[in-house]
């Protein structure tokens, strides 16, 4: 696989020129010490780790995978050393609370770091990623004692974290979990049950693993309102903070998977394991989802990272590989063929990837910016507006970044022809590793249901307004040379409005409508949102092109996106208008 190079310039362009995040930071107390130079320095430091240590190990780690022997999970060669480097650099706590040693950086910056980590090796990224999620959950919902006992060692990367939700019979439907929590006399709980698909449930990277576990108390109401959240350490922690005796939680096996071979996906057995309640009884699901909503952007970025890596590789290959002649004119008469990048269809594939990667980077930065404003902005109005955007865009970020990421990695494999299917080239690994991001942390179908059902229909369309207002604000200042594209985005926005009104008008009479068109609706919003960030990038690039000629590429890719990708919304809108009808003609016996 080719060397990975972090797209430093584009990351800075997106942060500084497109979304001007530093202007937000200047108004936020928590970010008093952060400016664009800090962000650039963070990107540079992260790049050393991603380019120098993690990416070069990813291919071998995929081949080796994790191994399981009698409850012990061993990660591939190099993982332990690299995790130590990552931890010592403070990267586990890149957005974590500084009171416990976290860097407390903005999510918009963290998003860049997460992209490079995922581009380098998704499997490796998950160990620190899940730990960061557990840290946030404990920080937001745990008691002071739990925070004091666990956070510092987790943020330093001495201890890792895991999130234990799924059970064999309960994935999407967490309301029917069976794991039990029985109160002990000392205020702790005895946790018993089996969890599956637990990423990083067991491994050899850290001295302890802190599990966050959904379970039901004896008096729990039925369904999703009877779920509580517990902290269950692999090793109990002594009063002096040192590691004590082994707790009753063990890994029963690891899964053999299509991809992310180097990530330990564990069956975890809890046999009266000692645990402590996190947050209120029966309010475990909302506590878990506070974190999951914040982290879902991170899952989306897995798709983006894989796509970014695949694009770099495919571009290099398309420039080097010679095959056939350009249709218009021979490019390299001295060689026996031209580089394949001269061919229209190869350009179509590369530009589709480029549009998804750079569009995805801008979109994830936009969502990261809103997450920062929602959490830190001084005035309530800004926080509320940002929170509305976060609500709307979180499922889009998770699903659309992974769907477009998957499409991009498949294209990146196709550019390589037969070599794309061969493992040593690395392109097929990116397809396999990226694929899971469309499935876990709430399938992309569930994200779509969340977007159209809970968010759009649940607010009677109100939650759409800040996004549409942001688009209107852009459209209010036309960009010379992009008149047609601005009109196209205006039309697309109008289409979103029409389609939304249509769907909402059917909700009362047709209970099936939401889940019958939700995926197409999410894609519609995704393509329009990417159209918005592409034109924002064009608007940010245009005034600088004279001094920074490389930014001309932004204008060209924006034109490509509007001409070749955005038109996908036409078919989506037609399909959505069909409603649920054609999905419910079939009786069960008709399938």
């Amino acid at each position: 696989m080719a060397d990975y190079r972090v797209p430093r310039e584009d990351m800075q362009f997106v942060l500084q020129d497109v979304f001007k995040v530093h202007e937000d930071w200047a108004k936020i107390e928590a970010f008093a010490d952060v400016d664009i130079d800090t962000a650039v320095a963070i990107i540079d430091e992260g790049a050393k780790l991603a380019e120098g240590l993690i990416a070069p190990n990813a291919r071998a780690a995929d081949e080796e995978g994790v191994s399981f022997d009698n409850g012990v999970v061993t990660t591939p060669q190099g993982y332990k050393e690299n995790f130590k480097q990552l931890a010592e650099g403070g990267w586990v706590g890149v957005t974590a609370n500084p009171d416990f040693g976290g860097m407390g950086l903005p999510k918009s910056v963290s998003a860049q770091y997460e992209e490079m980590l995922c581009a380098a090796d998704i499997s490796f990224s998950l160990y620190s990623g899940l730990t960061a999620g557990a840290i946030m959950t404990i920080d937001q919902h745990g008691s002071d004692e739990l925070k004091a006992t666990y956070l510092e060692n987790m943020i330093s990367g001495n201890w890792a974290g895991s999130m234990c939700l799924t059970e064999p019979h309960a994935g999407t439907d967490l309301g029917i979990i069976r794991t039990k929590a029985i109160p002990n006399e000392d205020g702790s709980f005895a946790i018993s049950g089996t969890k599956i698909f637990i990423t990083g449930g067991e491994h050899d990277l850290t001295d302890n693993i802190i599990h966050l576990v959904l379970a039901k108390l004896p008096d729990a109401p039925a369904g999703s309102k009877g779920i509580s959240l517990f902290l269950v350490p692999k090793f109990l922690v002594n009063a002096d903070g040192s590691i004590g005796e082994r707790n009753g939680v063990h890994c029963g096996s690891t899964e053999h998977k299509m991809g992310i071979h180097a990530s330990a996906t564990c069956v975890m057995n809890f046999d009266g394991a000692k645990g402590w309640l996190v947050g209120e009884p029966h309010k475990g699901l909302p506590a878990m989802f506070t974190m999951m909503n914040y982290e879902r952007l991170g899952v989306g970025i897995q798709g983006l990272g894989a796509a970014a890596r695949s694009y770099q590789n495919a571009l290099e290959y398309a420039q080097d590989r010679i095959q056939g002649r350009g249709a218009k004119a021979t490019q390299q008469p001295e060689k026996e063929a031209d580089p394949i990048i001269v061919h229209g269809d190869v350009r179509r594939m590369l530009l589709t990837m480029k549009a998804f990667v750079e569009g995805g980077r801008a979109f994830s930065t936009y969502v990261g910016q809103q997450l920062d404003l929602a959490k830190y902005a001084a005035d309530a109005e800004t926080r509320q507006r940002a929170e509305a955007l976060v609500q709307l865009l979180t499922p889009v970020a998770k699903a659309f970044l992974t769907d477009t990421g998957f499409e991009a990695t498949v294209l990146g494999q196709q550019v390589f022809g037969g070599h794309g299917f061969i493992r040593e080239w690395g392109q097929e690994q990116l397809v396999r590793d990226c694929r899971i991001a469309q499935i876990y942390e709430g399938t992309n179908g569930i994200q779509a249901l969340d977007l159209l059902g809970r968010k759009v229909a649940g607010s009677r369309g109100e939650l759409l307004k800040p996004l549409l207002a942001d688009i209107q604000a852009l459209l209010a200042e036309p960009l010379a040379g992009f008149e047609a594209e601005y009109q196209q985005l205006a039309d697309a926005t109008q289409l979103v409005h029409e389609v939304t009104v249509q769907v909402l008008s059917k909700v009362v009479d047709d209970e099936n409508i939401i889940n019958s068109v939700a995926v197409e609706y999410l894609n519609l919003i995704g393509y329009v949102a990417f159209g918005y960030v592409w034109l924002r990038m064009a608007a940010a690039a245009a005034p600088q092109v004279a001094e920074k000629p490389h930014l001309a590429s932004k204008l060209k890719t924006a034109k490509f996106y509007m001409a070749r990708i955005l038109p996908r919304i036409e078919s989506l809108a037609t399909t959505i208008k069909d409603g649920s009808q054609s999905l419910y003609l079939h009786d069960l016996g008709d399938f």
Copy 2:
């Protein structure tokens, strides 16, 4: 993985009721002994093999893969025994020349057999599939002596075949191959060079392997007009037909791939290996492509087979797995949740798969029918019309069946949620195995270029006419209850016409236009062709629904296809109209 069940009824429905292939057979001398009962018997016999022997071994074979040791390739456990069964049943020569022991069956029937073999195990199917291709090439282009020496043992499955085209620097662009053929004094040739990606280049299933090799004679003109075809056996054959000494061709290594792990993908080194010319000097490429065009439908059917298997598994899972409640009403109040097939989005995924699988089965049968008519019809006019349809539809069959097949297997994985990513369930293997069919035997991008460039533009649109005429013939007899869908197909046909005229009008001024819109154009044709076969199926099913209630499903899926899938052509048409412009804004430095 669930047991595989061959869709016998649907195969018969397609052959007998939709395309009435037996009416063709009655007029073809070579098929004097073939009727629908024969076809049904063949399907039943093939099903025993596919369901009973091959499918149950596929999962283990993927895990074991082929092994390579010092030139020797060992196939997974069970492959040798199963290949022997397949050979003894006469299945290697299902369409082969009866003069040498072939069954000589119609391709429309063979297509059903190929589907079940691919559904059972694509890797396994390739050993006999490539042999069948080599048989056909020798039969059509070889001398009487070559035929007498090789065909009987190949058709019986005693010996296998391989096709050696690709070289490290020459894949799509075969004009630049370097393998040399130097004439020997005895009329044979000494072949030297390296071939890569050779499916079944070496294995332990048969006593001999007959390679068909593209190479250049000393006096060869440059480029693709200087390529000759040679037969190079692994073991030379003695005058009495017995196996003689080892020839100078050896396997240097096997590739480690994303999928089809049990198919040996070989680097083949030819060191002065003894070979014999097949056909005319310098006319190797057309000879090879006679066969490849016939076999490309077979590659398309790999996508169909994988999709069919994935659909069966996904349907079973969606009926068994309970999770959440139906939006309209609880379906199973006695259980803690409803089966996921009640959810609109799960239905969307299943019906999309069903529409692609049954539509693909009908489409491949339609193409198979045309291949039979082109080869065997008594009157020249019928042969020529069928040949035109074959020319047009072959690249569509290869690319569209594998693209929709891949989409279907990805959906079939998604239906399983997290379990879809776990190897033991088998859904992810179908994704990995299917993926290569979009790449090899001419990438799908190359198929699109063939369709729009060579076929449509090359004939100034003439080759489209028989397809459009077939569609018009269907539309001339409206089906009650499908008035809107018939109008929709008429509009779609009109759209094809408009788009084609537009593209052709640009060809003179824009050399890049063809390869810039070819993939979208192929998809446009594919969706319209599937619309055609879906309405043909509806028309065939409607009069029989009273006596065969299960055919009601055809009418419902046809409605689904028209409502939810065919609208994809709107976006494709818009994109095609953009032409090459947005693909050629970028200079090389802009990527």
